[in-house]
């Protein structure tokens, strides 16, 4: 409509070499101007008629920009946020300030950028906006920036979402020097790369740890992959959040003390959240806010696949054996539906099979098969030589988690001989006696 759009500052490597001085631009997007941002005046808010202070406002804050290029996910997140609610989406463009070859300069600039943003939010408040309707979404260094803004406002803003808060320079930071739960009324954090660019630990009322929060599936393991070797794990936090906003992946986090405990199936209880389920990553995690505030800091875990829609199909598997003596082994399970099958190898840890005692494990399949027609299993007790042991099952039960409409599957009286694949047709468990 004739108006010129204000775009995200595009810089190049030469700017990064020279270094950039901090300059914060605020680009407003609403449902009526999703593809055409309008730069806001920091002091005269009324000069932009589209900025409606009675609506909630989400600030999107990017992190360190080593190349100066605009983040590839900016348009995407703006569209998806606007889909959640009729709100003001403000992209905090501090590319001038974040684009420096020297990371430490960018870190220093976060403090100043935070003061700048704090001033703007205070102006909003003066003009009639409520602090509780403010939501800061910070990526990497932007997460700490959001935390500083929150701290400046004495934790009175509504929510801060931290997507893999930056680790370098923050590993030994005190809560005041980084994002922490006191920075907002509700702080949710997603961790994907705690061992390099992300920060280890728990920093929100709820901390989601994707695949344990360290290495993401599908990300290159060697430096030969080039740039993606460095950024893949860290960037996954943004992609997971986008996917969650899009509702293409519903990723449920299970409260647990560690990822390995989660993988062993020890943390599948969601009683604390009843009648709701366990918290689901994304914009709507605020539904769990009341419970989470009561619980204090909660750490939740989930696994993902390597690609969209990232979601895994999770079954809790319970087995009861009747072998007289204790046996140990690893299990391989395949679900078949017609010609398709999906496999899980539970070989990280030996399972303990004790007579008449239930052995529980967590089977996470990459593919979601609509109807399971056949299940095949194989065990390995780990002894290369010597006799072939048998695991004698009285009962095996597959409980689909997160899909309550699906039937529980059972099978009774099976003998699993070492390294021999046994296939069976599952029965519905609900036996009427």
């Amino acid at each position: 409509m004739g108006e010129s759009c204000d775009n995200f500052t595009d810089l190049n490597l030469s700017h990064c070499f020279m270094g950039t001085a901090l300059y914060v631009r605020l680009l407003l997007y609403t449902r009526s101007n999703l593809d055409c941002g309008h730069e806001l005046n920091h002091h005269r808010l009324s000069s932009q008629p589209l900025f409606n202070l009675s609506r909630p406002t989400a600030f999107v804050i990017h992190g360190y920009r080593p190349t100066g290029a605009p983040p590839i996910w900016i348009d995407h997140i703006v569209h998806l946020l606007a889909e959640q609610e009729d709100m003001n989406v403000i992209v905090v463009d501090w590319n001038k300030g974040a684009a420096n070859l020297n990371y430490f300069t960018a870190v220093t600039n976060t403090r100043e950028a935070a003061y700048n943003l704090t001033g703007f939010i205070l102006t909003m408040q003066e003009e009639g906006a409520s602090l509780t309707s403010v939501h800061l979404i910070g990526v990497s260094l932007g997460a700490h920036l959001a935390g500083f803004v929150g701290a400046n406002l004495k934790g009175k803003i509504g929510r801060i979402t931290g997507l893999d808060p930056a680790g370098p320079m923050f590993t030994s930071a005190t809560p005041e020097e980084r994002l922490d739960p006191s920075d907002a009324m509700f702080v949710d954090v997603l961790h994907t790369d705690m061992n390099s660019f992300g920060l280890t630990g728990a920093h929100g009322h709820i901390d989601f740890y994707a695949n344990g929060g360290i290495d993401q599936p599908g990300c290159p393991k060697t430096i030969f992959a080039g740039k993606s070797y460095f950024v893949c794990d860290h960037q996954r936090s943004v992609f997971l959040f986008l996917c969650a906003l899009n509702r293409t992946c519903s990723l449920t986090g299970y409260p647990c003390s560690s990822y390995s405990d989660f993988l062993e199936g020890r943390c599948l209880q969601c009683e604390a959240f009843k009648p709701a389920s366990c918290p689901v990553l994304g914009y709507d995690v605020s539904q769990w806010k009341e419970t989470l505030l009561q619980l204090g800091q909660t750490q939740v875990f989930f696994s993902t696949t390597a690609t969209l829609p990232y979601r895994k199909l999770i079954y809790r598997v319970d087995m009861v054996t009747w072998n007289q003596y204790l046996r140990w082994g690893v299990v391989f399970i395949r679900l078949h539906s017609g010609r398709n099958f999906t496999e899980v190898r539970l070989d990280q840890k030996l399972l303990r099979f004790e007579q008449y005692t239930s052995t529980r494990l967590l089977a996470q399949f990459d593919d979601d098969l609509q109807q399971v027609q056949k299940i095949s299993m194989r065990i390995n007790t780990g002894n290369v030589i010597g006799p072939r042991y048998k695991i004698r099952l009285l009962r095996i039960r597959f409980t689909p988690l997160e899909r309550p409409e699906r039937p529980l599957m059972c099978r009774f009286d099976i003998i699993l001989e070492e390294n021999m694949e046994v296939a069976f047709r599952p029965l519905p468990c609900n036996s009427r006696l």
Partner: protein
């Protein structure tokens, strides 16, 4: 002639030079001395060296030895460095020592090694063959405590007749025998329940889309009866083994006369 044998050959001269300066010559001398005890012919290189060092002292040395020595050195090749090779040589020599007639030491060592490997493999094999699965051992004579279940199932494809309701009729007896065989077969082949199974009995046929009443009897050992009651021989387990059998049959047999509807299966514990 002896001198010629040494001089015309370049290599011995060189060794002579190097050996002359240090203790190496001494050691090779010593070895030569030690070797002399055995008197084996291939030790002649050392002998040559000694002779090279002391040509004047052994002028009467016969040409035969020297010739042989030169020949031996030729065989050894040009890479002859006395000090390093001497230990390798010694091992080689020792390994080639004749223990008994043509049997050399290395053969003995190799044989012992192979023997050990063979023993290990055989014992492992025996171990896995002899291995007894404790779970397959049981003593039926100890199974004395009975445990019974009764219940009913429907045979929707059979038509109820008056004859079938009378227990003594031929038709009824044949059908009952057939069904009893089926039940007994399925429980006997069950890995977990088979050993405890005692008998299956069809007690009656009833009208109402043809219902058959049955009774199952198991026997358990006295010492484990509490656990068995709760787990292996629980109503859930006995019922589900039957139900599973019926579900597996469902597909090929659905239209058959003897088709048992899995959903109609009922079972309760008899006290």
């Amino acid at each position: 002639m002896d001198l010629e044998g040494v001089v015309t050959h370049g290599i011995p001269l060189q060794t002579f030079k190097t050996n002359g300066n240090d203790g190496a010559s001494y050691s090779s001398h010593e070895q030569g001395g030690a070797d002399d005890v055995d008197g084996a012919p291939h030790r002649n290189p050392d002998t040559t060296e000694r002779q090279g060092l002391l040509p004047a002292q052994t002028p009467s040395c016969n040409g035969e030895t020297v010739d042989h020595a030169a020949g031996a050195q030729n065989k050894l090749g040009n890479t002859y460095t006395p000090q390093k090779n001497s230990s390798v040589d010694r091992i080689k020599r020792e390994l080639n020592e004749v223990v008994y007639r043509k049997v050399k030491l290395w053969m003995v060592i190799l044989f012992i090694f192979l023997l050990i490997v063979a023993v290990i493999i055989i014992s492992l094999y025996l171990c896995s063959v002899i291995y007894e699965d404790e779970d397959e051992n049981f003593d039926r004579s100890l199974f004395t405590v009975p445990r019974s279940f009764n219940g009913s199932f429907q045979l929707p494809n059979l038509v109820f007749t008056e004859e079938l309701s009378t227990h003594s009729s031929n038709e009824s007896q044949t059908l009952a025998a057939h069904l009893q065989e089926k039940l007994a077969g399925l429980y006997r082949s069950s890995p977990a329940l088979g050993r405890y199974f005692s008998e299956a009995e069809i007690s009656a046929f009833r009208n109402g889309s043809f219902i058959a009443d049955y009774q199952l009897t198991f026997v358990m050992p006295e010492d484990q009866q509490d656990q068995l009651r709760n787990v292996t021989l629980s109503r859930e387990m006995v019922y589900n083994v039957f139900r599973q059998f019926l579900y597996d049959q469902e597909q090929p047999d659905e239209s058959g006369q003897m088709y048992i509807d899995p959903v109609s299966l009922k079972m309760s514990l008899r006290h």
